[in-house]
């Protein structure tokens, strides 16, 4: 699979021809539409909201936001940001309903605090992982983006970012930047292990409407069909349970540690860690 992210910056890659190709390809249109619908399902918006579309491009995802049926809580109003003028030009020609902004998400999100109910991003944030000049670093760009996004969402808001990481390093880099910015972050993987795998980074800000319990992704996917929750954090907590100092289990653990270091350790027997009888 070709990755335009590796060779060029987003605004250079999406020139007039590339932007037109991207928008008119029915295959890309279909994939984008289904991903947008999935993201909307994850956002779970109940009433008409103000949404930020990060990397809106020619407005393929925005169109779906404007077209949400009133019975499903739509239609939503959206503001789109993109770095490619050619893409925005096509969005203008297609006469999309949202407001458009020519801005680089790696430079931050220029909205005041608590502006949006939700944010959506389809196939965009992996572009942050490639820096086009020596003055900027991928980490710096990611941090500026997630800090800006965190501030511009209202408390209880959600953001869903679908992205294509190149490898696990990029995937971790993106999630760590999101967690560092203060988001409750989790990744939803659709069709895992296949060629069509799709990753959705689900970000939550603050408490989600006081449902109680989980406010992060596990709360988001709660009640969805065909979702397996793999929570790496729970296992970590169980392992951290402290052994009582001086107990038999603690002594055995220490002996194993010493043995691994290559020290000579007495064999463990039924007398290990036992108190001596009181003599008097």
């Amino acid at each position: 699979m070709s990755r335009p992210e590796d060779s060029l910056a987003a605004d250079v890659h999406y020139d007039d021809t590339e932007a037109r190709k991207y928008t008119t390809s029915s295959r890309i249109q279909n994939i984008q539409a289904s991903m947008t619908r999935r993201a909307l399902e994850l956002l779970d918006l109940k009433s008409p909201s103000l949404i930020l579309d990060v990397g809106c491009g020619s407005g393929l995802s925005g169109e779906i936001l404007s077209a949400v049926d009133p019975s499903d809580g739509g239609p939503h109003t959206w503001i789109g940001m993109d770095v490619s003028p050619s893409m925005l030009d096509i969005a203008l020609q297609r006469d999309v309903e949202g407001d458009l902004l020519l801005a680089d998400i790696g430079q931050g999100v220029p909205f005041r605090a608590g502006t949006f109910d939700a944010a959506i991003s389809i196939s965009a944030i992996q572009w942050l992982c490639s820096a086009e000049s020596s003055e900027t670093s991928p980490t710096g760009r990611l941090n500026r983006f997630f800090n800006g996004l965190y501030a511009s969402l209202r408390r209880g808001g959600r953001a869903v970012c679908q992205f294509y990481p190149k490898n696990d390093t990029q995937r971790n880099m993106i999630t760590q930047a999101a967690v560092k910015a203060g988001f409750g972050a989790g990744i939803l993987e659709d069709d895992p292990g296949t060629k069509n795998v799709k990753l959705y980074l689900v970000l939550t800000v603050g408490n989600n409407g006081g449902e109680g319990g989980n406010t992060d992704i596990t709360g988001v996917v709660d009640g969805m069909d065909n979702v397996d929750v793999l929570d790496a954090r729970k296992r970590l907590k169980a392992n951290n349970a402290q052994l009582k100092k001086g107990s038999k289990a603690w002594i055995v653990k220490k002996k194993e540690q010493m043995e691994r270091k290559g020290k000579i350790v007495k064999a463990t027997s039924k007398y290990t860690g036992r108190k001596r009888r009181v003599q008097f």
Binding site: P48, L50, V83, L92, L102, D104, Q107, F111, R112
Partner: protein, 127 residues
């Protein structure tokens, strides 16, 4: 560029983040166009508490609209008043700045607006 978006936009320059005068951005040499958009009262009621009413008053007077009341309506008042909904809808969503500039009062940076799209790209030394 809708007036609604303008009410939420701040100056993107890093040095302006801490200054209160960097918001709102002031439109200059603005050419306005009116668009017909369907009224969505629920959206307006939802957004109302988040609007900065003082900034909206400044913007609307700068764009030459009749002055807005000093205090913002409450959500219930807005829900009940059909004319108010239509007026706000006209100002926030149907009025668009098609050409012109947005100027930050703090650093004086000018963001050009062309064909309704504001250019928020910054040279790297300002990020």
């Amino acid at each position: 560029m809708k007036v609604l978006s303008l009410n939420f936009l701040t100056c993107a320059v890093k040095a302006c983040k801490s200054s209160s005068s960097s918001y709102p951005l002031h439109p200059r040499d603005a050419e306005l166009v009116q668009d017909e958009i369907e009224v969505n009262p629920d959206m307006l009621v939802n957004v109302l508490p988040r609007l900065d009413w003082a900034a909206l008053r400044t913007t609307s007077s700068e764009l030459g609209f009749p002055p807005l009341p000093e205090q913002p309506p409450t959500q219930e008042e807005l829900r009940a008043d059909d004319k108010l909904v239509r007026d706000l809808h006209h100002l926030l969503l149907e009025t668009q700045i098609s050409e012109g500039k947005l100027v930050c009062a703090n650093c004086g940076h000018e963001y050009a607006v062309k064909e309704g799209i504001a250019n928020f790209l910054l040279p790297s030394h300002l990020v």
